[in-house]
Symmetry: C3
Subunit: 151 residues, 3 copies
């Protein structure tokens, strides 16, 4: 997929493609886990709206500014190479989000709301850009239909 240069990447279609390949029969239910194996990258259900993404960027800059000093970036006091990434702020942001989303599968399709899209959120997006980022999709099937409550 190339190199991640953005904070927010809509991966809904990739996950749907995975599900389609499984060719789940009508009437099959289950769970779909979408997960990141990185400490500074998260999976989130978000609306896909470009102005909102800028709000989210600003929000996290306010909560955990990228230009502040963090002890984690005091490279001399850690047993790491001198060119180690300065990403203390990325860890703090990732701690507030989650590394997985679990979406139910109902009758063979993801039970996502109208505005819910699956996003890969890169909390450490500065150059040098990464070409080694990964997320996984794990499906668990059974026959039990979810029950819904309407307020």
């Amino acid at each position: 997929m190339g190199v991640i240069e953005e904070e927010f990447t809509n991966i809904t279609d990739l996950v749907l493609a995975d599900l389609e390949k499984e060719m789940l029969p009508i009437g099959s239910h289950g769970l779909c886990l979408v997960y990141s194996t990185h400490t500074t990258a998260c999976i989130r259900l978000l609306e896909d709206e470009s102005l909102l993404r800028k709000d989210m960027h600003d929000f996290f800059e306010r909560l955990a500014p990228s230009h502040c000093l963090y002890r984690h970036d005091d490279i001399e006091h850690r047993d790491v190479p001198p060119d180690e990434r300065r990403n203390g702020y990325s860890h703090l942001r990732a701690m507030l989000m989650n590394h997985q989303e679990i979406i139910p599968i109902v009758n063979g399709v993801l039970d996502l709301g109208k505005w819910q899209k699956i996003f890969y959120v890169e909390c450490d997006p500065n150059p040098p850009y990464r070409s080694d980022r990964y997320f996984g999709v794990k499906i668990m099937m059974d026959t039990q239909q979810p029950h819904g409550w309407i307020f």
Copy 2:
């Protein structure tokens, strides 16, 4: 259930009623996923204490104030009707919480802690109140008992 007029709604009894209907036999184990299909509503395990709910309200007002300007609410620059909800702050709050909670089922009952109640958290509670909010409950059963660690 009528109209949501509150930020915090304790839905524990609704979920328990779902589980009871399943009449799970003693010795059955599994997972119970409680999930929201809205981008601005979350599911959280919280203590049911009215003063704490006010603390939580104030906390989120401080983190993502409802009266501030957000780009997402710049309706003229978006392809939406002019009466679109102004809920940029709601999206930011929801991003910090989660759209699901997964609670283990042990011997046919939810393994909730003494103070853990399941809450539907409405991040966009302003009028006009919504009558279209939804949450789902998905049960996955197996026979494997959880293992617990006491500190």
Copy 3:
């Protein structure tokens, strides 16, 4: 395991020990849920780095200071004993994190990233220290392998 005196406890080895006991055969896949049954204790995937833990401590002190006044701690207005813990700040912090992490099991082993460790995060770490804290591990097995995407 004795008494919790720290905010961050790396419990990865305990969870791995649980998995080893199950002696999952090569080729078995599934999910591993690690969960807390406390309202003021969370489970998080974090890097195990001591300076970062201090950053995280300071970060939460900034977001929800432990010395501030919270309504939840106005003990006289609640139906609780006079020596009830003052832990309003703990609830607010826990609300921003999660009570569970779900980690896929691939070929019998946890699919954790290189830097991802499982942490028990105590949001109410002040004396008197607790000797009653608990977390659980629930395993769900099946045969379906996850699918991975590399960016």
